[in-house]
Symmetry: C2
Subunit: 349 residues, 2 copies
Amino acid sequence: MAETKPQTIYDIARLAEASPSTVSAALNGNWKKRRIARATVERIQRIASEHGYSANQQARALRTAKSGLVGMILPQHDNRFFSSVGQCFSNEARARGGLPAIVSTRRERDQEVEAVRQLISYSVDALMLVGTTHPEELSAICRAENVPHVFVDQPCQGAPSVVTDNRGGARALAEILLQAAPDAGEADTVFLGGNADLPATSLRILGYQDALRSAGRQGRVIACGYRRAPTRDALTREYERRGRLPEVLLVNSIGCLEGVLEFLVTLPLDEVDQCQLGSFDFDPFGRLLRHPIPMVRQRADELIRVAYDHLDGGTWSRDSFDPIIVAPELILPDDDHFTRVNQPALPVG
Amino acid sequence: MAETKPQTIYDIARLAEASPSTVSAALNGNWKKRRIARATVERIQRIASEHGYSANQQARALRTAKSGLVGMILPQHDNRFFSSVGQCFSNEARARGGLPAIVSTRRERDQEVEAVRQLISYSVDALMLVGTTHPEELSAICRAENVPHVFVDQPCQGAPSVVTDNRGGARALAEILLQAAPDAGEADTVFLGGNADLPATSLRILGYQDALRSAGRQGRVIACGYRRAPTRDALTREYERRGRLPEVLLVNSIGCLEGVLEFLVTLPLDEVDQCQLGSFDFDPFGRLLRHPIPMVRQRADELIRVAYDHLDGGTWSRDSFDPIIVAPELILPDDDHFTRVNQPALPVG
DNA sequence: CGATTCTGCGCAATCGATGGTGCAGAATTG
DNA sequence: CAATTCTGCACCATCGATTGCGCAGAATCG
């Protein structure tokens, strides 16, 4: 027990009076092919477990070119959606005996490239690339090194991708809001937040427009980025210019929602009450507002599950690389599983 | 460019007309000791970078017993505090050229033990253990394998730990709330949430009591666990029993705060207005409530920075293992910037 | 000019696990 | 009983990078 230091296959071999190759075969399951006697196998396994032996993964990886490491590139950990993605990835990776290595790269190209290179230098068995800004470049690196990979949340030309149904989700959310404000005109119907150059936002805008069109109505788009403060300021300017809030306000992304609420709390309650608010992205606090708001929640679990199946199903080397689409959840205030008493009073507003 | 497949030190050696050992020396900086001519070094480096060579980390790790991997055990990714810890860890690890491997273990003993073993089998250079439930057991494993490690957010006997000043933070928060409700009696002064058996909660309770004592007042504690629904129910029962809300309510942890708000939104506004609410743990939505509430934010960045310094400063093998205490921030509703709690570090235990 | 000291670099062993190959001895067959 | 087939296992090369050691040839010294 004191000399637990040198725990190699050779130590076990000596203790079990067998050769290293026999020990190796006994411990990794292919002793059948190598015709090792069952008694020998059991003796070796017993000794190995008594001594808490576990194989040096570096050596194994060097020999077999399979490391057991699975890499993920993520914009950031500290974000509700991405942290949830990280959680699901960690679960899946470990369920399959792998070791997750998650690297956050802040949506910066250089960091993304460096992280991919670093992960590859560790011989990762596969790579999952979430919300990256330069998918094609990263995919080229992976392809050159022959590393299986899949993109999540952001599609990539010529590589497998799994993304949320941004368009469908936005459309469903917009329909809810439009129904609640049947008389809102174009000027009073607003999609707020996000970056229209990125696929996610542009698809959500399309979904919003789908809903408008099928209701025979019109609306506006203010794509002011993903950050809190600029969104707050954009809404403030809008309010000051028109003297009132929009009647329909579809907020794109959780950071933007915070910005919107920051402004709304400065207004009289009855003005806020006139505004049909919805959010594409989920935060539990959304249910705690004066009027709980409808939210679209991306299904991190499904995204990762599908992406992973894709990797070890080998589907990743198909002919066509059309993105796989995962439907998000629409979370409505009234299918809340907690029954609310009386008319809601409000922490917010 | 097409044949980027076999990128080993031998390939580079052939291209540079040198031997593998020379290439190795040239690329990892110790060519000075090995008396390699500067011209040779430059030729090798040029060729290596032209071909995008980077060393196989498994092979290097096998030889040197240093992997560059740094492991972290975390209860979960999808939590504001822990995801922030993960983010800081990832930043620090990569700044030092390491590869972060973060494993979430759901506060379950078996998962914690297995994860530590798994990480060790990858020859991690160091291990950071955050919010674990069985620190002593994990520390014993690390010690047996001679792996440097440090605990964060949860102290461990006989191992280095870095923790938030829970007592000081809770005291500062309680003082704010008590001042705002100078006449609240014992029955109307409540600390709600958490698990009194765990060090974090019990220290926060002590801090709350410190504040009470120095104000010559009394209060109660309801430690109903860390989860949302039980907290909501506990507050509901309290309200029904006494016919009103407490005048001072210090909520312990972010999940509990959600539970509290879930109940508060069912009450008339004026009742809610009577209650001085504060939260130990930060959520940006806390600033967006009808009355923005004071919150204590643990400084994930500091915790990790100190823990990391500890690891590579070698401080981790000192004589005494008193936890290192990091002061949290007190975030007040009326501040735009954050106030630092400046309490003397109190002994943990 | 022979002896010593540098310079510059290559040889080969090593880290630990794996798997192709082959060799004894036992069991079976003709 | 000799020939063949099976069993059970050990030997050894290998993965790629590192490093102790040592060997040529050039430079310097006496």
